[in-house]
């Protein structure tokens, strides 16, 4: 049977550092998505909310918080959390309900309000919580892990800080024309090189900021979509996978990898398995893609993703970048939206925002950043504590 559902509408609240209630961004995005779908909030039978950990109790019940703000309508609700992969889980739950025939119209919303500076664990003394302990015992901020990956890439493949800067320059250029991007300013390689080192070899402009923002999509059954649009975009794959033991790449918030003693390695390493799940559901592969949105928490990490999603072999990402293959106009544009480099991360909104971008691209509505003739797009993302996120859309 087909596992496809339709994306009938997408909407976002612009990313920024607005300092308002996250619910406000969620409602704004939800209304925009419903308007694009040509539906009313009262048409929604199921609401999936992506939770936020930084906004108290309302953040842990994001679905209900947003439903209440839109006006109690009696819709069924679920709230999910999977760190940066939260949106993929919420979309997966909504898709499953539609495919099970339990509803025709689902709304998926994620929104966040973020504090200034580094993400930090929540307060208290929690000696059983690896997220608390990594800060306490190591001072291992998120950029520390990004720095480890970046340096590893330099050692394995000869990547250079100039390559990393080229990713920023590309994504900043892509984001210039995106009205939902937080940073809409051209960046040159020497701007990156002049920014202060945060976690060697990464500089401030190599690392994504934390942002406020909200994103929403209206998902419907294909039959419902055919009655409402002549331009359906299909969600053909959703991967919200966990690693297979042993996971031998160090992951946030861990102190160590799994050990490979006494066990055999999985056929596919975790990061490679994330997009593979979406490809398999859709019956497509990397060669079918017209564009990809990848999670550029750092510039260097974007290069890892090229390989993890199969755009090139390990070690080939720098050449792809230098050749312009991943720039708008190139063979397979990556982060046409501007990526996290132009947005900063608003955790529970991020995977949903990737779907918004792919939806607009596949509908030919991405304006200055349009990938010509885009018919298939992939989004990939990863959340700490072992959360994969990949979504595949096609016309």
């Amino acid at each position: 049977m087909s596992h496809e559902v339709a994306v009938l509408g997408a909407g976002m609240h612009p990313w920024g550092k607005w300092g308002r209630n996250f619910v406000e961004y969620g409602v704004h995005a939800a209304r925009a998505a419903l308007a694009e779908a040509g539906l009313a909030w009262t048409d929604v039978q199921f609401l999936a909310g992506g939770d936020t950990m930084r906004n108290g109790y309302p953040g842990y019940v994001a679905g209900a918080s947003i439903a209440q703000a839109l006006g109690w309508s009696g819709a069924q609700v679920a709230s999910t959390y999977g760190a940066c992969a939260t949106g993929a889980q919420a979309i997966d739950v909504a898709r499953a309900r539609i495919l099970a025939g339990l509803c025709d119209v689902a709304l998926v919303v994620g929104a966040d309000t973020t504090p200034k500076g580094f993400f930090a664990p929540t307060g208290g003394v929690r000696q059983q919580d690896p997220d608390w302990l990594r800060f306490r015992l190591l001072g291992a901020t998120n950029p520390v892990y990004f720095g480890l990956y970046a340096r590893r890439r330099m050692a394995l493949y000869g990547a250079t800080p100039a390559d990393f800067a080229k990713v920023k320059v590309k994504n900043a250029r892509h984001g210039l024309g995106n009205p939902n991007a937080r940073y809409r300013k051209a960046v040159r390689e020497d701007d990156v090189a002049a920014s202060p080192v945060v976690s060697d070899p990464l500089r401030l402009l190599d690392i994504c900021a934390t942002s406020d923002g909200g994103a929403a999509v209206v998902l419907t059954s294909l039959a419902f979509a055919r009655r409402h649009t002549t331009q359906p975009v299909r969600l053909a794959g959703v991967s919200a996978v966990t690693p297979r033991y042993p996971n031998t790449v160090i992951e946030m918030p861990n102190f160590a990898t799994d050990s490979a003693v006494g066990v055999s390695l999985p056929d596919v390493p975790f990061r490679d398995s994330i997009a593979r799940g979406a490809y398999e559901q859709a019956g497509l592969g990397p060669e079918d893609l017209d564009l990809a949105e990848v999670y550029d928490l750092s510039t260097a990490l974007e290069l890892d993703w090229y390989e993890n999603i199969g755009l090139c072999k390990p070690g080939g990402a720098e050449q792809m970048l230098r050749d312009g293959a991943t720039t708008l106009g190139g063979r397979i544009p990556v982060n046409a939206s501007g990526g996290l480099a132009s947005f900063g991360e608003a955790v529970p909104a991020q995977a949903i925002a990737q779907v918004c971008e792919l939806t607009w691209q596949l509908r030919g509505r991405a304006e200055a950043r349009q990938v010509e003739g885009a018919r298939v797009g992939l989004a990939v993302n990863q959340g700490l504590f072992g959360h994969g996120s990949s979504l595949l859309l096609r016309t």
């Binding site: 190591l138 001072g139 720095g147 202060p196 080192v197 070899p201 861990n254 160590a256 006494g262 066990v263």
Partner: protein
């Protein structure tokens, strides 16, 4: 009267030891499948093919090779206790051959990233993490061997 020396205590109990001389990290090993955990897994083996609930404490190798490294140029947020003024420090990911795993740790005070290279041999030491009114809180760190 001489000022008493500050009390030295581990910043976390049971993760490392200096008993018997050389500092060692303390992990655990599943008695059924032999896989190893750090920090210690105490209640069940996490190998999904195994499922044993018998794990023994074992000391991990003191030496390994540098898998990658980075540093903190800005003070991490609490609960990290940052020195004032803050002194940047390096962080290492070290691959242990016998355990087939990579373990993170701060790098010894005074060693900068310019002195590190992926692939070099590293060894474990115990050093101060921070000092407060209750004394010096110690942690494991890596340094070039």
């Amino acid at each position: 009267m001489p000022t008493p020396l500050p009390v030295r205590q581990p910043a976390i109990e049971g993760w490392f030891t200096q008993d018997g001389g050389a500092p060692r990290l303390l992990g655990s090993r599943c008695t059924a499948c032999g896989t190893i955990f750090f920090p210690k897994e105490t209640f069940a083996c996490r190998n999904p093919e195994c499922g044993s609930d018998t794990l023994d404490e074992i000391p991990l190798s003191r030496h390994g090779t540098l898998w990658s490294f980075t540093d903190n140029r800005y003070p991490p947020p609490p609960p990290f206790v940052a020195s004032d003024p803050f002194e940047p420090y390096a962080i290492a990911a070290v691959e242990l051959a016998a355990e087939k795993m990579v373990v993170l740790g701060q790098v010894a005070k005074g060693v900068t990233t310019e002195q590190l290279a992926v692939g070099m041999e590293m060894e474990l030491i115990i050093e101060a993490l921070f000092e407060d009114e209750s004394g010096i809180h110690e942690i494991w760190k890596w340094r070039p061997a």
